[in-house]
Symmetry: D2
Subunit: 388 residues, 4 copies
Amino acid sequence: MRMLRFLTAGESHGPELTAIVEGLPSRLPIRSALIDEQLRRRQQGHGRGGRMRIESDRVEITSGLRFGLTLGTPLTMRIRNRDWENWKTKMAVEGDPPPEAKPVTKPRPGHADLAGVLKYNHDDVRNVLERSSARNTATLVAVGSVARQLLAPFGIRIFSHVVEIGGVEAKKFPKTLEQIADAAELSTVRCADPEAAEKMVEAIDQARREGNTLGGVFEVVALGVPPGLGSYAHPDRRLDGRLAGALMSIQAIKGVEVGLGFTAARLPGSEVHDEIGYDPEKGYTRDTNHAGGIEGGVSNGQPVVVRAAMKPIPTLYKPLRSVDIHSKESFQASVERSDTCAVPAAAVVGEAMTAWVLALCFREKFSGDSLEEVKAQYRAYMEMVSRR
Amino acid sequence: MRMLRFLTAGESHGPELTAIVEGLPSRLPIRSALIDEQLRRRQQGHGRGGRMRIESDRVEITSGLRFGLTLGTPLTMRIRNRDWENWKTKMAVEGDPPPEAKPVTKPRPGHADLAGVLKYNHDDVRNVLERSSARNTATLVAVGSVARQLLAPFGIRIFSHVVEIGGVEAKKFPKTLEQIADAAELSTVRCADPEAAEKMVEAIDQARREGNTLGGVFEVVALGVPPGLGSYAHPDRRLDGRLAGALMSIQAIKGVEVGLGFTAARLPGSEVHDEIGYDPEKGYTRDTNHAGGIEGGVSNGQPVVVRAAMKPIPTLYKPLRSVDIHSKESFQASVERSDTCAVPAAAVVGEAMTAWVLALCFREKFSGDSLEEVKAQYRAYMEMVSRR
Amino acid sequence: MRMLRFLTAGESHGPELTAIVEGLPSRLPIRSALIDEQLRRRQQGHGRGGRMRIESDRVEITSGLRFGLTLGTPLTMRIRNRDWENWKTKMAVEGDPPPEAKPVTKPRPGHADLAGVLKYNHDDVRNVLERSSARNTATLVAVGSVARQLLAPFGIRIFSHVVEIGGVEAKKFPKTLEQIADAAELSTVRCADPEAAEKMVEAIDQARREGNTLGGVFEVVALGVPPGLGSYAHPDRRLDGRLAGALMSIQAIKGVEVGLGFTAARLPGSEVHDEIGYDPEKGYTRDTNHAGGIEGGVSNGQPVVVRAAMKPIPTLYKPLRSVDIHSKESFQASVERSDTCAVPAAAVVGEAMTAWVLALCFREKFSGDSLEEVKAQYRAYMEMVSRR
Amino acid sequence: MRMLRFLTAGESHGPELTAIVEGLPSRLPIRSALIDEQLRRRQQGHGRGGRMRIESDRVEITSGLRFGLTLGTPLTMRIRNRDWENWKTKMAVEGDPPPEAKPVTKPRPGHADLAGVLKYNHDDVRNVLERSSARNTATLVAVGSVARQLLAPFGIRIFSHVVEIGGVEAKKFPKTLEQIADAAELSTVRCADPEAAEKMVEAIDQARREGNTLGGVFEVVALGVPPGLGSYAHPDRRLDGRLAGALMSIQAIKGVEVGLGFTAARLPGSEVHDEIGYDPEKGYTRDTNHAGGIEGGVSNGQPVVVRAAMKPIPTLYKPLRSVDIHSKESFQASVERSDTCAVPAAAVVGEAMTAWVLALCFREKFSGDSLEEVKAQYRAYMEMVSRR
C-alpha cells in the first residue's frame, strides 16, 4: 500500500470539492490558513476571467486534525463551491432533471468533452466538463499544501515562476533561487524578470482583445531536498518519472522537463553533466545543476527543478468548429466568459503536485508514524550521508 | 489491484535479467520471436559502442505460456547476460568478494552513482551502476513487446522515429504516419528524413572523434487507439500523465511532450485546438492532431503522439571532474569504451513504455479474462461509440 | 491502479465522517435512501447502549451523482456526527486545547488504545480511540451500500444472519437462503432461528445485568455471484483471501471462515468437496456448497458464504486492570455506558465489506465505463459461460 | 507504491517457478541456504505422496544480491521443476501441442478446475491446475524466507505448529513458545504434543488406507514483533486484516483466526481481554495474550498468534462425482497418486505468509534504504516506546 495517498472528488458546480489525504504522520502541525493562502495564490494572476471573483476558496478540515496537530488518521478537506446556490437544481444530486437543465450537446475542441461523452456514454456534455474542469485543481492545491506542511519541518521549500507566456520568454533572472521566488511572488504573471513580465501582460491583454488565449511555461523549484528520494531500483520508483506523471496530469499541460530538459538533447555530453566536487564542510558539491537535482531517478541534494508547458485555454471567444452530439450538426463553438491565460495559476498547481510527489518519496524514505519519529529518521539518515 | 503489472529485475553484469508480467488475459498468442525482434531493435543504431556486439539478446519464456497461448497466469521472461562468464566472480551472488573485485569508488557525473551511494549506503559504486545501467531497459523492451502483442489483435500499432540528434532536426517527413514508420525502420538513426539522417550520422561520427556524446529527441506514435482510454475522473487515471511518467522513467530522458508539447505553449489558442467534424461513415473526425490524440487525459481516437528528450550519455571519453568516495580526492572521470549516441535505441524503449501504458489503460477498460472475452468487450464498446 | 477504491475519514466525535468511492461506472443509479437504510440497519440490534439513539445516521452525497445517476467520477458521502455540538471544543480541529479537554490517559484492554499511543506517540488516548472506534464502521456501511447498488443490476444480493451469540448457537434454519434472509431481518438479534434468537436475547440481558459483554458469529451470504470472480493466478487476486482480509479488518473480528471453514479441517475429504453435476438448462450444478461458493480462490457460481467471529466488546462495566500512561499507576478500567452486544450490527458491516470485495472483483472482470457497457460485458461473459 | 512487493510465476510442470521481491533495503544478508532450508521444510511431513520425492527444491538467486548482501534492487529467485524433462512436450511454451498432450477434461471437485475453465475460457483443465496447484506455494515459501531474513536482525522469529489433524486435537503443550517451536520441529506432523502427534499419524495412515484425505489446523507464532505494526487509521492498513488475507490466500485454507479467534465469540468480555500491567524494566506487560498480539489492528508487543484451517486435499483415491467439460458426461473422479495430508506443509507456507505480512508492515514503519538505516530507525523508535 502506498505510504501516502489521496483521493479528490467534486464537480465544478456541485456543492463542494473534497479531498482525503491518508498516510500523514501524527503530531504534524497543519494550518488551514496556509492551505487558504495556497488556494488564494491559485486564484490569482493577470488574465483570469470573472469566475475567479465569485470563488474565494476556503478550506474546511473535518477530520485528521485536533488542536492543530495531525492525529495520524485521514485528513479531510472540503472546499465549498460558492456558486452552488445558482446551480442547485441544474446540478441536483438526486431527483429528476428540472426543465431548465437542458443538456449541453456541444463538445468543445481541446477539452475532454467529446472523449468523455464517448467513454462514459453520456448524453450531456455537462456530465464530463463538471469534473474535467480546471476548477478541480483547487483540491490538488489543497493536497499540495498539506504536502508542503509535511516537508517544511525538514527545510524543504517549493516555489514556482513563469518563464514564458505566449512566446514571450523571461531572460534576466535575479541571482539566487530565493530571489527568483520573491520576485515571482510579486509579479501579476508570476514572472521574476520584470521586463518580460510587462511584455507578458501586454501579450495577454492583446490576446483578450482578440478573443484569443495564451499558454506558457512555468518552472517549479524545490529547495532543501535531501539526496536519496526516488530510486533507480524499479522504473516506477524514479523521482523524475513520478514528477513528470504528476505534472502532466494537470489540466492543459502538454510538456514536462527536468533540469535542462529538451535543451539537454541539443548539447554535447561535455556541457550537460554536473561535475562533482567535495568540500569538507558541505560534503559533495556541484557548480552547476543541469540535471535539475535528479540523477538516475534519485534526488542528488541539489535543488529539484522541473518545468511544464501549458497549452492555451481551449475555451475561446474566437469560435472553433465542432459538432453537436445529438443533431450531428456543425456549429461554431464560442463562449462569453473565460480566462485568457491561466499559466500563473497553473504554476501554483504545479508547485502542489511537485510537493505531493516529494512528500510521497519523502514518506517512502522516512516513514515514521509521528513527527518526532520522522525527525529522528531524517536526522539519522542525514548523519549517515554526512559521513559518506 | 492493478489490472496489469510487472516487476523487472537484474544487474547489468549479473547472470540474467528477469521480468514477470501479471494480468494478461488467457488465450492471447505471444511469440518469443517477436520479443527477440524488439530486443534486436533496441541493440541497433549508429553510435553504439562495443558492448552491443557482445550482447545479442534472446528471451526465454518460462511461465504463463503453453503452446504459444497465454494461460492467464504470470508470464516470466529471462534474458541472459552473455558476458556473465567474465563476471562470475566479481558479481558473485554469494560468497566472499574475490581479490580482483576491487570496489569502484569513482562516481560518474550524470549517472545515479553518487546519489545511489548516499541513498543505499554502498561502499562500491558498482552496486549502484549495475542496476541503474541502461542495460536494464532490455527488460522494459521485452515487457513492452508483450504489451504490443496484447494490443495487436485490436489494430493498435506503435512505432517511433528520431526527430533530432545533437541539434540536427528532422524536417521533411513522408506524408503518412505509416510511411514515416517504414522510413524510420530503414534508417540507422531511426530518422524518417533521409537528409537529416545523414547529418545526424555525421554529427555522431564527429562527436565520437571528439570523445563526446550526443542526445536527441524521439517521437512515439500509436495508431488505432480507441477513444476512451485513460480518464479525467482522477488525476492518476489520466493517459497523458501515465505516459509522461513512464517515458520520463527511461534512463537519460529529461523531457516529455504530448502532441504539440512545448510548442503549444507558444501558440495562441486559435491555432492549437483540433476542430471537430463528423462523417456519417467514420464518426467524429479531426483535420489536425495537435493534441497528440489525448484531450482531458483521455484518448480521443486520433493517433497518440508523444516525444521524449534524451540527454547525451554521461559516460564520456572526454573527462569530467568528480571525487573518489573513499579518498575524497578529485579525479578526471574518463572511459575507454562507450556509446556515442543511444537515441535510436531509446526510441525503441520509448515505444515499449508507450505500449505498456496503453496496454494498462486498455486492460482497465477491457478487462476480460480470455482473449475472446476481451474481444467481445471491445466490440460492444466500439459499437456503442459508433452510435454516438 | 485499482479499478475501484475508497478512502474513509473521520473521528468518532469530530464534525463528520467522510468517504470517497472512486472507480464506479457512469449512469449507475445510486439512491441515498438505500444508503440510509443500511446505516439504520447498522444502528439496530438488541444489546446496544445509549449512543445509538443519539445517532440517526443519514448520508449526504456531495459529488459523483447527478439526477440520481453516477457520473463516473468520485462519489463523496458525508455522515454528520449528531453529537458534534457537544464536542466542538474538546475535538476542535484548530486552536489551543480548552481547559476542559483533559487528556484521556487510561488505555482500555482489548482496544487499540495502548498500541496506538505507542505507535503514534500520542499523549492523549482520545487521539487513538476517536478513529479506532467502531463508530467509523458507518462509513464502511455507506461504501458497502454503494457496492450493493453496483451489484444489484446484476442480480447479486447480499444478506447476513447471526448464528451464535455468547455461546448460544442457531440450529434450526428456514429451508432456503432467501427465507433465512427474511427471518434474520425480522429478528432483533438478526438470527433466523427464533428459538435461538430468544435465548440470545436472554443471554444479552443477563450479561448486561452482570456488567459483561458478549460476542458471537455472523454469516454473510451473497446470492447471484457469477462464476469467475477472483483468481488463482496470483495470491493477492484470490476472492477468498480478499474477503478474509476485509472481514478481519472490521473492529473486534477475530476469526473468518469461508464455507465449512474450521469444520472442513475436521472432516475427511470425502465429505468436504462439492460434487459436480450438469443440467442442460442450468449448466453445471452442485448439490452441496461446502466450499462457500469459492474454489481455488475463484467464485464457482454457488452462493458465496463467509462467517466471522466477533469478540465481546472490550468496554465493560466490569472493571479490567490497566495502567495510566502518564503516572504508570494501575487502575480498574470501568465505564458507565456501553453496548452489551454488537454482533447484529457487525453483521451489517460484514455485509458491507463482502459487498465491497465482490464489487471490486466484479469491476476487475467487468470494467466498462458506463452501466450500459458493464451490462454488455456481463452478458457477453455469461453467454460464453453458458456455452461451456 | 508498496514499500515491499512481490510477484510469483510458474506452472507446476513448467520449467521453473520464479519470484521477484522488490523493496528490500540494501546490505541485508540473504543466504540461499536458509531459503533451501525452508523449501525443505515445506516438502516434509507425514502424509505426503510420491511427488515430494521427485522434487527436492533448491533456490537459485539471479539478481539483487552480491557477495551475500542485498543491493537494494529486486531479488529474483528461481526454483527449477525437477520433473520438467518428462513434461517438456506436454507443457511446451511454444509450438503446436504434440499428439500425446491430450487435454484434461475432467474437473475435480474442490479444486479451481471448473471455475478456472469458465473464467479463462480454457478447453483443457491442465491450463488451470498447473497454476492453481499447491506446488506453487514453493515460491511463497521462498519469498517468506526472504522476509524472515529481513526480520531476523530485529529479533523477530516465526514458527508454526499443527494443533489439529482430522479431528485429533493437540492438548498438552510445552510451557514456553520456544519449546513448542522446538517440539514441533521434531515432529513428523509438526505437532508439539507427542501424544496427539502419534494419534495424528495414525489418523493419516488410516485415511490413506481408506483412500481418503485429512485436513487440520495449524498455528503460526511470531516472537519479537515490536508494538505499532499495522494501523487502525484505515481498514486496509490493519495488521490482522492483512494477515487474514494472506493466510486465506494459501491453497485449501478455509478459516483464519487471530488470538482466541472463534473461541472469543463464545466467552464473556471479562474473560477475553488482556489486562495491562507495567514493569519499570520491561514497560507495559500482559499476563495473557488472548488478542494474539494485535489490538485494534495494531501489534501490541505480545507474540502475534494466528491459526488457519486447512480442508482435506480434494484429490482423493476415493472417487468424487464430476462432469466432463467436453462431453458433459458424468464420471467418477479418482486419482492414482496424491498426498493424504498436507497440513504440516501448509503450516510452513503459513509461516511464510505471516513473515511476509510482518515484513511488509515492518517496512512501512522502518523504511530505510540500507540495513544500517533501518536499524537506526528501529532503535530510535524502540527508544521512544521505552519512554512512554
